[in-house]
């Protein structure tokens, strides 16, 4: 509650500073002595920034520090000596007392919390005041600092532009730092896992059967061989799906860039891109309810009596359909980026359309096409919902597409939602699998982007 008040305070002070800064700049203008070096708005933003940013920093720090200061004050109170030393009970009593003190709860349920309500109330009130006073002081200090620097020849615009640049930089860093954060958390759990199961056995073992109910010190390392999962992932995502997606995606890209009349193109291209926007769960339904039974029926009618209703083929086919837009839009872009001089040169030699496409356009666009395929593969092997719904849970190491197969992503879901406790290797294995998947897709994306970059350089 007090934090939201502080936010309002920051906005109010910021607005006041903005108006004051602009008024000051106007007054320079009417005095008419010198031309302003920056327009009044920049002076206004400069002052506002000097008020809001220090306040925002203070609020961030205070939001973290205030509860701890309150807790410290309460624990120092003689009434706190009655508290149990550790555990849930202590936490429960403290949080109950705090809830009553701040008015979130009407009265205490546990009598042990009663004596703590008063100290809490006192501490909360005290620190709320301290927070307000500090915030106001900071706002005034920042505002005054900025206001006093305003002069007709003050380069407010440069300062504001620099600030805007910094804010944009910060925004872009968030995504990058998040990536590192993800990597770090994965890495930490993965190292814990590899403390219990040998990495070599994990990466080269052929048997997969984690046992979440066995005591962690009695697990059998040889049941954590992930090769069947890697095989299933590659077989479904990089082989079956690609057999579907590469030819269809390429052919549709060629049709769209080279043959389709403009009117058709304006219809087909968005329709294809809609495919990329369909939630993967919906593809999952389609794979599990329509494609998988159809494949089983087909297999049965072809004389394979024990065909599974979950099959790598069903998941792979649907996944292939799903990633057609990835392949086709990259291929489309890179074919369209081949200079038309290349095409004209080929036509002028008497080449037909298809000869030109086959012998000039595709070779020239190949790096872009390959990059698109790699991005599609990395998308396919990271795909979860389709395989969860259609591929099955059995870790089979087989090349028969009609059998159920499991993938890395499926097992991550299964392990994390399974019965194992959080520090059991059967659960931690999910992080190790995720880590491997992360590294592989990262490498694929990295290579693909490098390839695209080199290709662009070649034509500029």
């Amino acid at each position: 509650m007090s934090l939201s008040l502080l936010f309002l305070l920051a906005l109010g002070f910021g607005l006041a500073g903005w108006l004051a800064g602009r008024a000051r700049a106007w007054s320079f203008q009417t005095e008419g002595s010198a031309r302003l070096r920056a327009r009044p708005q920049y002076h206004a933003w400069y002052v506002a920034a000097w008020i809001v940013l220090p306040l925002a920093a203070f609020i961030a720090v205070w939001g973290w520090a205030q509860p701890q200061l309150v807790m410290q004050a309460v624990l120092a109170d003689p009434a706190a000596s009655q508290l149990p030393a550790f555990g849930f009970q202590r936490e429960a009593i403290l949080s109950e007392a705090r809830a009553v003190a701040s008015g979130a709860a009407p009265a205490v349920f546990n009598p042990a919390a009663q004596p703590l309500v008063e100290p809490f109330r006192a501490a909360l009130g005290r620190y709320e005041w301290i927070g307000f006073v500090a915030a106001i002081l900071i706002a005034f200090a920042g505002g005054a600092h900025a206001f006093l620097r305003l002069k007709p020849d003050f380069a407010a615009r440069t300062k504001v532009e620099t600030l805007v640049m910094r804010i944009l930089l910060l925004a872009s860093l968030v995504a990058i730092l998040t990536t590192f954060g993800i990597l770090a958390s994965l890495l930490f759990e993965t190292i814990r896992f590899f403390g219990m199961v040998s990495p070599l056995g994990f990466l080269t073992g052929f048997q997969w059967g984690p046992d979440p109910m066995v005591a962690p010190d009695a697990i059998r390392s040889d049941r954590y061989g992930a090769v069947p999962l890697f095989w299933g992932t590659i077989y479904i995502g990089a082989i079956i799906a690609m057999i579907v997606a590469i030819p269809l995606g390429l052919m549709s890209a060629i049709y769209l860039t080279q043959y389709a009349p403009p009117r058709w193109r304006t219809w087909i291209k968005p329709a294809l891109e809609v495919l990329a926007g369909v939630p993967t769960v919906v593809y999952g339904y389609f794979a599990a309810l329509t494609v998988a039974p159809a494949i089983r029926d087909l297999a049965v009618s072809a004389g394979i009596s024990n065909a599974s209703s979950e099959s790598a083929l069903a998941a792979g086919l649907v996944m292939g359909i799903m990633i057609i837009p990835f392949v086709s839009s990259m291929a489309d872009d890179s074919i369209a980026a081949v200079p038309s001089a290349m095409r004209d040169g080929s036509y002028a030699l008497g080449a037909t359309r298809s000869e030109t496409i086959r012998r000039v356009l595709i070779p020239a666009a190949l790096p872009g096409i390959v990059a698109g395929i790699m991005l599609a593969v990395s998308r396919a092997i990271g795909e979860t919902m389709i395989v969860v719904m259609a591929a099955g849970a059995a870790a089979n190491l087989t090349a028969n597409p009609l059998e159920a197969m499991t993938t890395v992503t499926f097992q991550i879901v299964a392990l994390l939602t399974g019965e194992g406790s959080f520090d059991h290797p059967a659960t931690l294995a999910a992080f190790a699998l995720g880590f491997v998947l992360f590294l592989v897709t990262l490498a694929l994306n990295f290579i693909a982007l490098r390839v695209v970059k080199r290709f662009r350089e070649a034509y500029e």
Binding site: P262, P339, A341, M342, R343, D344, G345, S346, Y347, A348, L349, G350, A351, T352, E355, R359, V360, P363, A364, A458
Partner: protein, 263 residues
């Protein structure tokens, strides 16, 4: 309006004829009622200010305008008396007979050898590797590039200098053994030394092929061509022996252009 044929000193057989040709881009008329006879043993130059339609007209001579969706053409263009726009005309075969070199060198992203071998391969001119080698060597020699590239045939064509790339494109056009070579400002992207080499090459090639060159350089037209046509605002103003056009033009507009009053 322009009656070209009686103005021309017909020492050579007429190779290509345009009859009342008009070309439109959408509704805009780019070429207005042009008739011209192109001789078989000369270099014919099209000159005129930018946007006068000379390149558009050149591209209609091997139907390269077909690749532009909005382009439409009226009239007739004859190659050895045969209308190249008649239905049933094989555009592929036409372009093998009437080759083209473009303003900017546009070698394919392939090796030097493969660039030249491209045409012979798609037209099936060479049965064996040895025959193909012969065609490639002969074409590069005629384009004056053989001595410079014979030891580096497997390097990419794009690694050559601008002038060498343009000669590679000429070699590529020659390799399919055309009868006419159209050149669309072939030197405009090149430096003076490379330009001089191409001009020499044009004089050499004219012994074997009919050449039509679009240029915005009047000096170039004067140096390389025997026939010159002056285009202005989509019309062909004057057409005649190059020496006459440059020394004694009949039309005032031609006079104005070549003396640099506009353009």
């Amino acid at each position: 309006m322009v009656t070209a044929i009686q103005d021309v000193d017909v020492r050579a057989d007429v190779k290509m004829q345009a009859r009342d040709v008009s070309i439109y881009y959408g509704t805009k008329k780019a070429i207005d009622d042009v008739s011209i006879d192109i001789p078989g043993a000369f270099v014919t130059a099209f000159i005129g200010p930018s946007g006068c339609g000379k390149s558009t007209f050149l591209r209609s001579l091997n139907r390269m305008n077909d690749t532009i969706a909005s382009a439409r053409m009226e009239g007739q263009i004859l190659l050895d008396g045969e209308d190249i726009y008649q239905s049933g005309m094989d555009v592929v075969a036409l372009r093998a007979r009437v080759g083209m070199v473009f303003q900017k060198p546009n070698p394919f992203p392939k090796t030097i050898y493969e660039n030249v071998a491209y045409g012979p391969r798609i037209h099936g001119f060479a049965e064996t590797k040895a025959e193909l080698d012969t065609v490639v060597e002969r074409s590069l020699q005629r384009a004056g590039l053989w001595d410079e590239v014979k030891d580096r045939l497997t390097e990419p064509g794009t690694a050559l200098s601008g002038g060498q790339q343009q000669r590679l494109c000429i070699a590529r056009a020659i390799a399919v053994d055309p009868e006419v070579i159209l050149m669309d400002e072939p030197c405009s992207a090149l430096d003076p030394i490379a330009t001089a080499k191409i001009e020499e090459l044009i004089a050499d090639l004219a012994k074997r092929y009919a050449i039509v060159i679009v240029t915005h350089s009047m000096q170039q037209a004067a140096r390389v061509s025997q026939r010159t046509a002056f285009f202005h605002l989509g019309r062909m103003v004057e057409y005649g022996p190059t020496s006459e056009i440059f020394t004694n033009p009949r039309e005032a507009r031609t006079q104005d252009y070549i003396t640099g009053r506009y353009g």
